[in-house]
Symmetry: C2
Subunit: 300 residues, 2 copies
């Protein structure tokens, strides 16, 4: 099986898990449950939950053992997209070729749907995972560590902090340090956290967790630089969103600060550094090697 | 010391604890930390954290033992106020005689400030509480039970569910069952949860937790009915908000459905039932007896 097909298979698995851990849309009040189901099943690539699962697999847990944690990061990620798309923030009408949550349900319900998914992220970590066969992955102590991890990554010293600096930088000339702060926090923090959550669930030691963190940081930055590049060079149909939106929103990006060619060079450099890191860690499954190449060359 | 003075003393204690558990406004990015500090220190009565502490005290923990849990419920409550006040929801410009968060910081930051406080609520439960002298109150197992409690009370089967039905009922004729659903979930769920959190932290047995829950439900309903009455009869200066706002927003309330006199009768009936419950439970500190009388007769 090629890597894209493997990713798709894992995505299907996550989709099934999300159906287990998300309250169905028949629950009262129906509106809010329809709204959260709409955004969760609006065609995400499930990149973040796959990272949780693959890291756990690399340290010899099963995907069932960490299924609730994988769903929790997708809930948190989706809440952030719903709120980002609101008129007061990025004001996006479409995401992945579908109308955004507030275009379908109204701004009031979209705000509450985001709140609900954020709440549910923490609840899903705290809850029993009936699929788990390895109790060590789900002890109260492990759950607490994973909550601390997700809260830090999603909070004002992570994702929200990055989002705030991004908002404040719109239309301003910013330097590469500020751009790196935004990338590191707005998207990187959660991506690194996904690897750390998989590793913490698997009970890794301090050194292993440090290695995972360093590798996660590379992957997060690689993901974001390629995202910046695709916003200039990408195919709108494949991306499911308009290209050039960063430029239109006057957002600083790697290409706008350093040019397209230099940005490509940097992305290749980071990919090499990530490969180099893999060689010296316990994170040696074929998945992560393939992932680096896949992220570097992705078209969507 | 009279009861109002005692409440004020406890409020001061909570204010000091909030300063310990909330990141100061000097943290980068400053905007978001200023925004969360603004709303947390905008003059709340600290009713909910006081309930956490008093229930813990009734079961022989100290207030230090549960200080982080008390702060967590205030963070969650404050997030809900910031989001409720947004133009897309209740569109309130003032709360407690001060401009609402979005009037000071803009809608984008207000949305993120709410998100940050919700995240911080769970983080504060998960974190170490350096003030605690009774490790049993802060075991990972206890923390997980408290997270489940807060997530359920704050989620779509609690506060958010009540908020959604409230929004959908505006301008419509609703029956008393729907109004009770709104009250029970929008405000009642978190109030009951505060008592349950204090009790869970103190390690109560099943029967004690049931009693606390039943008493909490009475207190929550009493609080809300009196709130409805004060929106008709209250003093704007004392309340810190306009009276008649429910009527102007076409919100159903106890007085609008049943009349003022009948609403007062019901509030007195619930107060008697709450007193009766106290007689048969372990929750017998003078505080809760005083609280019933205080809630029934409050002017703000």
């Amino acid at each position: 099986m090629n890597f894209a097909a493997y990713l798709d298979q894992q995505k299907q698995y996550i989709d099934n898990m999300l159906k287990i851990f998300l309250p169905s849309e028949n629950n009262y009040p129906e509106t809010i449950h329809r709204a959260i189901n709409y955004s969760i099943f609006a065609g995400g690539k499930r990149f973040r939950p796959i990272l949780v699962i693959e890291t756990a697999l690399a340290f010899e847990c099963t995907k069932e053992d960490v299924a609730n944690y994988a769903c929790a990061v997708e809930f948190l990620h989706t809440y952030s997209l719903i709120h980002d798309d609101l008129p007061a923030l990025d004001n996006d009408d479409y995401r992945r070729n579908k109308p955004t949550n507030h275009k379908v349900f109204g701004e009031d319900i979209a705000i509450l749907a985001g709140d609900a998914l954020l709440t549910l992220a923490f609840e899903t970590i705290a809850k029993d995972n009936p699929l788990c066969n390895n109790a060590a992955c789900q002890t109260p102590y492990t759950k607490i560590k994973i909550m601390q991890e997700l809260a830090r990554a999603g909070g004002t010293f992570g994702m929200i902090g990055g989002q705030v600096v991004d908002l404040e930088s719109e239309g301003k000339e910013i330097d590469i340090e500020t751009l790196n702060y935004i990338h590191k926090n707005k998207t990187g923090a959660l991506i690194t956290s996904c690897l750390r959550i998989g590793a913490i669930a698997a009970g890794v030691n301090e050194k292993q967790l440090e290695d995972v963190t360093e590798f996660g940081n590379k992957i997060g930055l690689l993901y974001q630089i390629v995202d910046d590049i695709l916003d200039v060079t990408g195919d709108e149909d494949k991306l499911g969103k308009k290209v050039g939106s960063d430029e239109n929103n006057k957002k600083a990006t790697y290409p706008s600060l350093l040019g397209l060619e230099k940005s490509r060079e940097i992305s290749e450099q980071i990919a090499r550094e990530a490969e180099e890191l893999l060689r010296h860690t316990d994170l040696k499954t074929g998945f992560f090697k393939n992932l680096i190449f896949f992220l570097l060359n992705r078209q969507y």
